[in-house]
Point group: C2
DNA sequence: CTATTATTAAAACGAACGTTTGATTAAGGC
DNA sequence: GCCTTAATCAAACGTTCGTTTTAATAATAG
């Protein structure tokens, strides 16, 4: 009863199993034997199809990011074309960038929430190897959207926009990856419990509707009064004093 | 020349080495032999002093989080006391929470940026074991600040505030943990290069001054028009259509 | 001093790791 | 039929993992 599998694409089954387990246990925390056991393939199949464990991780990301980033560029192209050179609205740019991403979460064939969580989690991994995977996939998209944001929010200095783009990526990544942690930490009952399909809205859409106003508010926030030469302590308050 | 070390606290040297390497390579990616080799102690010392590798990680966090969270409570206590029951300003609450955190990044004796990065990175780790570490350290602080935010931002529904607290944690964690990734991804030159001490401002303070306006803007952002029963696609645009 | 405890040291434990090998099976061209 | 290529399989490779054991060394108390 265990050897009559007629092999519906071994490669894909490995990728699916790896995607899920890398998300759940991390790259180092997932062994080849765990993956091949879940995928119900032979242990040697991974090395045969992907060369190594690193090659497997690379392909797990590549098959999703290729779609994601080309889609992001296509959406931005379309928006800019129908704007006839006029700057886009900030909300349009953010919706193009984050909406495209979160659409993955609604479509299981694109990886669904499993891949989104893996992505959010992996972005905080500083290992050399993982960084090179993203470095080769992302620069063009980031560059295009950065420029679009420069034009969309002309009253915020460019350097500040780059910082805020960074913050926005973080808010999103973390919200996706750490969606369970919130429930560990807080006791508050959210009307739409993340992690389980609840109500009529998908988890991704629910997140999207909460995230967008937050990001927009942060992106267009008034500038900090520029460097007031403050030697006050971070976080104010004098309940504690340095030594 | 290798056995005349006069042992300036083996325990502390192990913790310091572990903190740095857990940050750099992750928990699973760091071996006991890596740690004890850097700390220049015997391999068995970790199990002697901390029982196990898990016990070591637990202590790495405990020695920092104990200070952090009691300090956060103290700062909030002081603010609320001098407000005489009046609600605090949103900026006060955020400064108390995030300022206290980022003060760690300025003080090497509290862990400095090394611990901040480890913290930001670990918060996205979904492993059962790591979750329990945080679950035991954080709930009281989160609860207190949550209530303070409810009072400080009365015109935003409570459920929405919890979501935004989550987003804020993410923006911060990610900004801390992924500070190098930004440079891989973007080619933009920031006036204050993170990762290296640049100019007169500390890395933590520079981050803090950029982060606060962003968080405030996001926290007080106008609500999304409530659930417009939209069946439009996420991210708009019709350049691509589902199947 | 001796007795006791705390700490360090070297060596080994079995288990699990990623990878490789060599045989076996399936499929398609000729 | 045979040959070639692709794919799968069981088994083993050598290495590294976290942990344990046993002995040696320092530190301290009586």
């Amino acid at each position: 009863m265990s050897d009559n599998q007629i092999n519906p694409d071994t490669r894909e089954r490995i990728l699916d199993a790896a995607e899920r387990q890398f998300m759940e246990y991390g790259y180092e925390g997932t062994s080849m034997r765990m993956i091949t056991s879940v995928a119900e393939v032979n242990l040697a199949a991974v090395n045969y199809h992907f060369g190594s464990k690193e090659g497997l991780l690379r392909e797990v990301f590549r098959r999703r990011l290729t779609w994601l980033n080309s889609e992001r560029l296509a959406v931005l192209d379309a928006l800019e074309q129908q704007a006839h050179g006029a700057p886009l609205k900030p909300s349009q740019v953010l919706e193009a960038f984050f909406g495209t991403l979160l659409r993955i979460g609604e479509d299981e064939s694109l990886g669904g929430m499993t891949f989104l969580r893996l992505l959010g989690r992996t972005l905080t991994d500083p290992s050399e190897f993982i960084r090179t995977v993203f470095a080769s996939e992302y620069p063009e998209v980031i560059e295009r959207y950065k420029l679009a944001l420069f034009h969309a929010v002309p009253d915020v200095p460019k350097a500040e926009i780059v910082w805020r783009l960074h913050f926005m990526l973080g808010a999103m990544s973390y919200a996706i990856a750490g969606i369970d942690l919130l429930q560990v930490i807080t006791s508050f009952e959210l009307d739409n419990i993340p992690g389980k399909d609840s109500g009529h809205k998908s988890e991704a859409r629910n997140l999207y509707e909460r995230l967008m106003p937050f990001l927009l508010g942060g992106l267009r926030a008034p500038l900090p009064q520029f460097s007031v030469a403050s030697n006050e302590q971070l976080g104010a308050s004098d309940t504690t004093q340095e030594k």
